[in-house]
């Protein structure tokens, strides 16, 4: 799935501005209601229909040209509908289509509406041709269900549906009493924070962790911040270490005396487990592609771990300086990156190691270089590329999600 944006609230209104002539109003309205229900059944979203006035999401049918829409339609077939990404809210259907429900004839309004509402909620097109969010209409399906990729996408944006939280939200709406929520840790500034962990994850994505938040690092700077538990369900914040192994496809997260294993964003059965054979409260972890082993760091020592074989840890921990020359003890984070180099992070500095595993000349450097943050000048508070606390606030909903409440 691809994410295009998100609403900063989870309780949304919608309004049906007009209906197609090919379906009875009650049938068409039921199809549109069901389209919203697919999403609200897997994510902590609620949708309330309004019959007048402004609505967050507005559904309408128009022909080839509309004075209210700059994107024309093209008659029967071809383009069926289009929608705007958050937080715009327009959802338009081609009035020239033969909209139907409960039959293989024509175009199923419920399924197309669910697809377009997916866009309105922030989902882009999926590469899974069987997913609802695939760009091409796959035809009427009497027992339609969301594809796992659709579910993963919407939950990456809004978190997972929690039955208890749903009840709680219902009560809140009725009584207007504010819920007692556990506050997340302060939102870090990626350009100035000290890190908990770093990881070169699946598909070459670099993840940085701090407190309850995680973000990706790209050539153009830090990406938007997400709650850790919104991406990896069941994972707490304030991690000690994180490491992804391309050898096994496993991601291991360490915190205290526990280890979590995920494949992608799904926790493996039986986890979290107690960390038994290495010391708790690790500092960092990395995967070294040269020998396909995971290295765990604590204090001045390290353990070398083979994920697929019973490792004899009796000769560990060994001194870090024996293998990685010039790196600090008690690193905050470590990883081998896609350029083939090994990096260590501590405080606001990072070290790069050369092929002989010695610290390269010119290091340590400031983490702002790593994050691709531009330096701030005294008269400029928000340079392009900077992620200032104020700009991140606009991206994120800081309200703890239902999943967070359970975890906390």
């Amino acid at each position: 799935f691809l994410l295009l944006g998100r609403w900063r609230k989870k309780h949304l209104t919608y309004r049906v501005l007009n209906l197609p002539s090919t379906l009875s109003p009650s049938r068409a309205r039921a199809a549109l209601h069901q389209a919203f229900k697919y999403w609200s059944s897997v994510a902590p979203l609620t949708f309330r229909e309004v019959k007048a006035g402004w609505a967050d999401i507005r559904l309408s049918f128009h022909g080839r040209h509309s004075p209210y829409c700059s994107n024309s339609f093209d008659g029967p077939g071809k383009v069926l509908a289009h929608a705007d990404i958050p937080e715009l809210g327009s959802v338009h259907f081609d009035n020239d289509e033969f909209w139907t429900e409960g039959t293989y004839k024509g175009v199923n309004l419920r399924i197309i509406a669910a697809h377009e509402v997916g866009h309105a909620l922030g989902l882009g097109h999926s590469r899974y041709t069987q997913a609802l969010m695939a760009p091409v209409y796959a035809g009427y399906q009497p027992y339609f269900r969301l594809h796992p990729d659709d579910v993963a996408g919407i939950q990456a944006l809004y978190g997972k549906k929690n039955p208890e939280a749903e009840d709680e939200e219902e009560e809140i709406r009725l009584s207007t009493v504010s819920p007692v929520t556990t506050k997340p840790s302060p939102m870090p500034n990626p350009c100035s924070t000290e890190l908990d962990a770093m990881m070169l994850g699946p598909r070459g994505k670099t993840y940085a962790f701090k407190g309850d938040y995680v973000w990706t690092v790209t050539d153009s700077g830090p990406g938007p911040l997400f709650r850790v538990s919104a991406l990896w369900e069941g994972l707490p914040g304030n991690l000690d270490a994180a490491v992804y192994s391309p050898r096994t496809g496993w991601i291991h997260f360490f915190k205290g005396n526990k280890v979590w294993r995920y494949v992608g964003f799904r926790m493996s059965p039986g986890f979290p487990m107690k960390l038994n054979r290495v010391e708790p409260n690790l500092d960092a972890a990395l995967y070294w592609p040269v020998n396909q082993k995971v290295f765990l760091f604590k204090g001045s020592g390290y353990w070398q771990w083979d994920e697929l074989a019973r490792t004899d840890f009796s000769r560990y921990p060994k001194p870090i300086k024996e293998l990685f020359t010039g790196v600090p003890d008690r690193p905050s984070a470590a990883m081998s990156w896609q350029d083939g180099q090994v990096y260590f992070f501590k405080g606001k500095e990072y070290w790069r190691l050369n092929q002989q595993l010695r610290v390269a000349k010119g290091y340590p450097r400031n983490v702002t270089h790593w994050m691709h943050c531009r330096p701030q000048t005294p008269d400029t508070n928000s340079l392009p590329g900077d992620v200032t606390p104020s700009s991140t606030v606009t991206i994120l909903d800081t309200t703890p999600s239902a999943a967070d409440l359970v975890l906390d």
């Binding site: 994107n71 339609f73 077939g77 289009h82 289509e97 097109h125 590469r127 091409v136």
Partner: protein, 80 residues
């Protein structure tokens, strides 16, 4: 097989409309053959079709299917 000018235009329209080809901001729209081949490869890959970069019957049929009007994110740049 070389495409007729009408079909070539239709293919280019499709690839442009759905984001597989990027219209240059300056100058005339004159795509190189390798740009079109690359765009077709991305479309075929995203559509679970045999990836040839050529306009074959499967690709032609796929492009005729009804679909959403939003762009696809599947060009090589976005994949990267």
């Amino acid at each position: 097989r070389a495409l007729g000018s009408t079909e070539k235009e239709a293919v280019l329209d499709y690839l442009l409309q759905y984001g597989y080809l990027q219209k240059p901001l300056e100058g005339a729209v004159d795509f190189r053959l390798e740009d079109i081949t690359e765009a077709l490869r991305a479309f075929q890959e995203a559509s679970d079709l045999p990836v040839s970069g050529q306009m074959d019957d499967d690709t032609r049929a796929r492009m005729k299917l009804p679909r959403c009007g939003l762009e696809d994110p599947f060009n090589q740049k976005t994949l990267k």
